[in-house]
Amino acid sequence: MSKILRKYSLYLLLLFISFILSIYTAKLIYDVRRSSYEKIEKKLEKALESSDKEVLNQSIETQGSTSYQNKDLYLLARVINGEARGEPYIGQVAIGAVIINRTKHPGFPKTISGVIYQPGAFTCVSDGQINAKLEPTALKAARDALNGWDPTNGCIYYYNPAKTTNRWIWSRKVMLVIGKHRFAK
């Protein structure tokens, strides 16, 4: 018996190691998703803490005065950030204005969160872009929109003609074009 063991000990060891390795790999694959979510969260926290610290402090300081704006400001800024990063500033305010216009329109939910989380309403909500790193301009744009500036003058739809696959949206009348977005009634 011991003879056999000695003879094949190397193979047994190899077998054992590969078994451990395979378990480890499986666990690794299993954890990839969870850890990636955690990483995103951590990154978000960091982003909020460091780069936007100044902007954040300012906004907390100034926005503390109205709970309406406080509650919705960040949510609005996140959608603007997710939908219109890299767009001209006015295009960012316009996205915020469309959301606010919807809350005042009978055909849409009456709250900013209701409008934002309506299924299929905003691509950045469906694909997770809403959690991207918050740029300070998005916060500023959100504030302008909440303060009543509306570059679209009452539009309730917009789309990027290069990206949209939704045929229904093309039937709406285009009122103006800001950056890459068409704004429609």
Partner: protein
């Protein structure tokens, strides 16, 4: 022979531990991957069930609310008691808003396309609420309002029926809410998802001939069709508008001028994007000039502002000068807010000492240079007109008796305020304190009715109303 020999050889090799070990490892990996897969699948199934349950809850709740609307409206048609009807209308309002909320959560691929159904639910609720208020103030429904309600009830019947059919099919498992665009969904699932979506869109099609509804509420169709009262009749062209924009901004020339389009449903405006100097990074001015009257409706100057060098008092002084220069005399400041190194100040029109809140202009002053970086006169041009303000029918003392005794009044003035319905009310404005909080209480100067209460929030960064 050779095949048999090969077989023998293979058997020999199979016996060899090396091959066994490789097979064992492969098998081990397979088992682990399979376990992992099963785990993943179960997790996904759990999420899917969870979501489906939420969607079902939203859908069945909505069906229930729509049924309630239908039965409450028909009860209101039957009832002869004003108070009873007022209660029924409030119930309709509650059910309609709950129904709309649930509708907007259904996993239709493009939920936004259910706009007409949502609009119906909003308006049936909004109209009922305004009727309930009307009844409470002692006015019965007019014949026209009763006709409107009957029409709305017919829609509730139709909607309720088609939703019920859907509900039966869903509860029998014939229709399912599909998964939300998961890559690699089987074709079958995709089809069933489309069926539910298209069935909901068919319900939406039932509102094709939906009438225009005008009543006393914020979601009435007349709100989006209001005509600006404060704009001159003369129409201007795009070129003239561009000139007006340059005059307003005191610019001789600019590096870039982009025309963005003609838009707006109440005030049609030409919108321009102006970059005065390309060397100053990120500075763009966006400005909108009305087609009717050629007035500057709003302006945003996206200049980066550095840390504040002036206070709010100086900012107000600058804003006031700016307003006078641009043709807005008799404006007084009310609320203000400091943010992003700027001060946002609200100005309202003053007519013979009476505050006209609807005629509002917002000015934003950069606190580093004192420059005006934002302007919005939309409310002003919507409502400003030469008003014939009557003498108050009740005295200040009478009005004071109508407000709560707990309210510590600090100042009183006359004011015209905007109402939700788009109308205006002539009121006494009582500013005061209650429980260390500031409030503004508005008592109608003609009827004595309390029209509105605002909470005033004061803090180091501003004064705001809520």
């Amino acid at each position: 022979m050779s095949i048999l020999g090969g077989y023998k050889e293979l058997r020999e090799r199979l016996k060899s531990v090396r091959l066994w070990s490789i097979m064992a490892v492969t098998l081990g990996i397979l088992v682990i991957v399979a376990l992992w897969g099963v785990n993943q699948y179960r997790g996904k199934a759990n999420y899917h069930n969870y979501l489906t349950n939420m969607w079902h809850r939203a859908f069945f709740d909505m069906v229930g609310y729509v049924q309630n609307i239908q039965s409450l409206l028909s009860k209101a048609e039957v009832s002869g008691d004003d108070r009873q009807r007022a209660v029924l209308y409030t119930e309709v309002w509650r059910n309609a808003f709950a129904a709309q909320e649930n509708l907007s959560q259904l996993p239709i691929e493009n939920n936004v396309a259910l706009e007409k159904t949502a609009k119906y639910l909003t308006q049936v609720g909004d109209l009922s609420f305004s009727l309930s208020k009307q009844l409470m103030s002692g006015k019965k429904e007019t014949l026209l309002q009763k006709k409107q309600l009957k029409k709305l009830r017919a829609y509730a019947d139709k909607l309720s029926n088609s939703l019920n059919e859907l509900a039966i099919e869903i509860s029998q498992g014939r229709l399912r809410w599909g998964e939300v665009r998961v890559v690699g969904t089987s074709r079958l699932k995709r089809v069933s998802q489309n069926v539910t979506s298209s069935r909901m869109l068919a319900v939406e099609a039932g509102f094709k001939d939906y009438p225009t509804l005008i009543y006393d509420g914020p979601f009435s169709d007349h709100i989006s069709r209001q005509i600006p009262k404060g704009l001159p009749e003369k129409l201007v062209t795009k070129e003239q508008a561009k000139k007006i924009a340059f005059e307003f901004l005191n610019l001789k020339r600019a590096d870039v001028v982009n025309y963005l389009g003609l838009s707006g449903d109440r005030i049609k405006v030409y919108t321009f994007e102006i970059i005065p100097d390309r060397k100053i990074r990120y500075r763009t001015i966006t400005i909108a000039i009305s087609k009717k009257g050629g007035k500057v409706i709003w302006m945003i100057d996206n200049r980066a502002t550095s840390s504040p060098k002036i206070g709010v008092a100086k900012a107000k002084e600058n804003a006031k000068k700016f307003l006078i220069a641009k043709g807005f005399p008799n404006m007084i400041d009310t609320f203000y807010l400091k943010q992003d190194n700027t001060a946002l100040i609200n100005y309202i029109f003053l007519q013979n000492g009476i505050k006209i809140y609807p005629d509002m202009v917002k000015i934003r002053v950069a606190l580093d240079t004192g420059q005006i970086v934002g302007f919005d006169a939309t409310p002003y041009y919507m409502s400003h007109t030469s008003r014939n303000i009557p003498k108050p029918a009740i005295s200040e003392r009478q009005a004071r008796n109508l407000i709560s005794k707990n309210f510590d009044v600090q100042s009183v003035s006359l004011a015209i305020i905007p109402l939700d319905s788009g109308k205006e009310a002539f009121t006494y404005e009582f500013l005061g304190k209650y429980d260390d909080k500031y409030f503004a209480d508005y008592i109608n100067a003609i009827t004595g009715k309390e029209e509105n209460i605002l909470e005033i929030i004061k803090d180091p960064n501003g004064i705001l109303s809520m």
